[in-house]
Symmetry: C2
Subunit: 436 residues, 2 copies
Amino acid sequence: MSKPVKVGICGLGTVGSGTFNVLTRNAQAINARAQGELEITVVGARRDNPACDLGDTRVTRDIFEVARDPEVDVLVELIGGTTVARDLVTEALTNGKHVVTANKALIAEFGNELFALAEQNNVVIRYEAAVAGGIPIIKALREGLAGNRIEWLAGIINGTGNFILSEMREKGRDFADVLAEAQALGYAEADPTFDVEGIDAAHKLVILASLAFGMPLQFSSVYAEGITRLTTQDVEYAEELGYRIKHLGVAKQSDEGVELRVHPTLIPESRLLANVNGVKNAVLVEGDAVGPTLYYGAGAGAEPTASAVVADIVDLARELGAGQQCRVPALGFATDALQDLPIVPMERVSTAWYLRMEAEDKPGVLSQIASIFSDQGISIEALIQKAPAAGETRVPLILLTNKAVQGNVDRAVASIEGLDTISGEVTRIRVEALDG
Amino acid sequence: MSKPVKVGICGLGTVGSGTFNVLTRNAQAINARAQGELEITVVGARRDNPACDLGDTRVTRDIFEVARDPEVDVLVELIGGTTVARDLVTEALTNGKHVVTANKALIAEFGNELFALAEQNNVVIRYEAAVAGGIPIIKALREGLAGNRIEWLAGIINGTGNFILSEMREKGRDFADVLAEAQALGYAEADPTFDVEGIDAAHKLVILASLAFGMPLQFSSVYAEGITRLTTQDVEYAEELGYRIKHLGVAKQSDEGVELRVHPTLIPESRLLANVNGVKNAVLVEGDAVGPTLYYGAGAGAEPTASAVVADIVDLARELGAGQQCRVPALGFATDALQDLPIVPMERVSTAWYLRMEAEDKPGVLSQIASIFSDQGISIEALIQKAPAAGETRVPLILLTNKAVQGNVDRAVASIEGLDTISGEVTRIRVEALDG
Ligand SMILES: NC(=O)c1ccc[n+]([C@@H]2O[C@H](COP(=O)([O-])OP(=O)(O)OC[C@H]3O[C@@H](n4cnc5c(N)ncnc54)[C@H](OP(=O)(O)O)[C@@H]3O)[C@@H](O)[C@H]2O)c1
Ligand SMILES: NC(=O)c1ccc[n+]([C@@H]2O[C@H](COP(=O)([O-])OP(=O)(O)OC[C@H]3O[C@@H](n4cnc5c(N)ncnc54)[C@H](OP(=O)(O)O)[C@@H]3O)[C@@H](O)[C@H]2O)c1
């Protein structure tokens, strides 16, 4: 009834070998689901990978051969990066091949151009694996929640970062110490900057936001703050206040435009997101009709990521096998309906705040600080003042504010840092209630 | 480019009015996502519903007129029940209309016949709203996890039941008391049997299991145990042992076949599922490639349920507007690939157990009990023995066992109930670690 769909896999690293293995091991169920045969026609890899036995699958050492192979219907890009991968995907699309990719950097930075090229060539690009690994969050936003106006979403979308924060909280370990372990365990990249500086999360967030709000990808507009400056002290004080610190990507639509931000965040400990630990990912989405929904699972790893890659291939195969087109738009909205929504500048973004400072332990300090906040229209929600350590004249002072725009907090903090009763910088971390 | 897709809504109750309102309010975004126009051509309702303003939408008082209306492409069945609804859907399919429904009873009990009829008529039935309301769990199983062999799933899939259990735990209230409130709040059906006896959950579970394992629907094979006999005492003892009691639907694939069961279950308090409270639903799915994933959200209510109905309509419209077929099979697997898997009889189902009994407070009782368990090959994992209340000679004895098949537990319990040192019946509740 339907013709085999021919797949070419480029890149045989972690995800490439996982994809090959899952497609092979679960071939029977996958073909039954796809209503036809999925065939791995060729693998493009510079070298073999002991993690998978290619059997008599055809292999080429030149990945671009896959993009030119007249037999291939779907090219699966799993080489990573934004240089060669961009050329490879461009060539595949130009040659009329559909593309499946796990490459968040490529989609976040070059998605607009690639989606347009795909449309011109009457093919599609699918990228479920690019965000939150095996969790079908792209599909949820693009299809499952299609009836909703999405109001906001917030996600733990970098597994390495979440592993580090979970260990810091559970075992009181230092950031640097846990990062070294994450690297040893293979969670973190060799260059961990992408993980811990929030760049990887920013790549994923911008994709989620475009799907949620119907706007072209605007990677350069994401505010990204990493977790490198978090201390176990802050993790503990947060706990005392009933919060956990998570590294969140937050996208929110308001009258002013769209907020796109990645930063450490205090969230109430009773929230499900606060209880997502280790390398797991989760995304909370608030829709006007459905209310809050949450999606949880493995955000990385060979087979979890392969699960998403294969789902994309099955989606394509269900249509292609019957000679049809895939009709789901790349960002969930018809291209001509995408809107360049304004991005809210960070100084106008309003959240509650956690502030920690070192203050002289003497009368009048609190009232000085309170009056500075009051001048900026910021009200204080909770306060912890610690007893001074033996021989110390300074005490840690921890405040939770009500919602305040960052500009006002900046000004208050500048004034506080100018007080001679305060030493050093004020530590600030945003707080999100995540309750709609 | 694409022609309008014409929708006829039958039933204007909670979900019908919610669907009308969401389609109307979010028309612009929905059309942009569907890449074409969605038009509510006619509403079939015996009477108007003040919850929605139909404007100049055409209305018929005879729902069967919608099934015969030559203009209608998609009939949305929201009347409920399995008699008239079955006739209505049958007529719509026979007349070449696609069907979207929220009716779990109809799908669970008559899905096999209706899917076959749809296939004969080259149309499809979509039922995302039938399980877990607004959570796109059908889509996740049918598409998002298509690369996996699903090993098991476990869900809180009845909001009323979860509301009752949450209130019992949080406020120490009685079952009957909370049920009355749930009815007053409109959560429970007027006849609450479906909710509290596990029938509604059984309807949903059988649908999830068929999607997960690729088998025809077998509603009559589901074991369903309700929550009516749970006491606040058991809720508290469970808590003492580090567990929460949830009403779960569990489907599991093993060498022996498929387990299909709905029952109260102790789950470790640290699990996300243990922290899903109130009327919310959540489903945990274990796939061989992806590992555990979890989906959380509103399991009922006008607009959450409408969110799922509209998502189904958008899915259809994306294809139909371009004159294509919807190629995703009704149960995720090609019809000829569905397999009638054997159902594991309950006496052979193995789980850990919570057992509570009233025992004489005298020496030797524990060793009698221990020897009975040992005879059945059951080992004891934890035990709580309470001090006797003033003037009482009997004490509550609470045991957690390791995994044991129900047949052995039945025999052990029968022996224990026969001891003259034990009074009354032994309370038993299954325990699931939910850790893969
Ligand atoms: N790992 C995860 O858990 C995960 C999760 C989600 C998404 N992703 C994304 O998936 C993609 C692949 O990640 P990965 O973890 O599988 O990376 P990886 O293990 O480093 O594998 C990359 C593969 O691509 C090959 N490759 C790289 N550059 C090439 C080039 N210029 N020409 C030919 N082959 C080239 C590598 O070959 P050599 O071995 O010869 O260098 C290797 O086989 C990335 O976009 C990543 O962001 C990964
Ligand atoms: N409520 C939820 O949260 C929820 C969630 C998930 C799924 N569902 C499913 O959605 C479906 C609808 O539920 P609902 O809560 O919306 O029910 P509902 O509020 O009772 O509404 C049912 C509607 O169907 C009409 N109707 C019933 N029988 C009819 C008949 N024989 N002929 C013509 N009209 C008939 C009713 O008309 P009258 O008012 O004239 O009786 C009413 O408009 C059910 O299958 C239910 O299981 C509901």
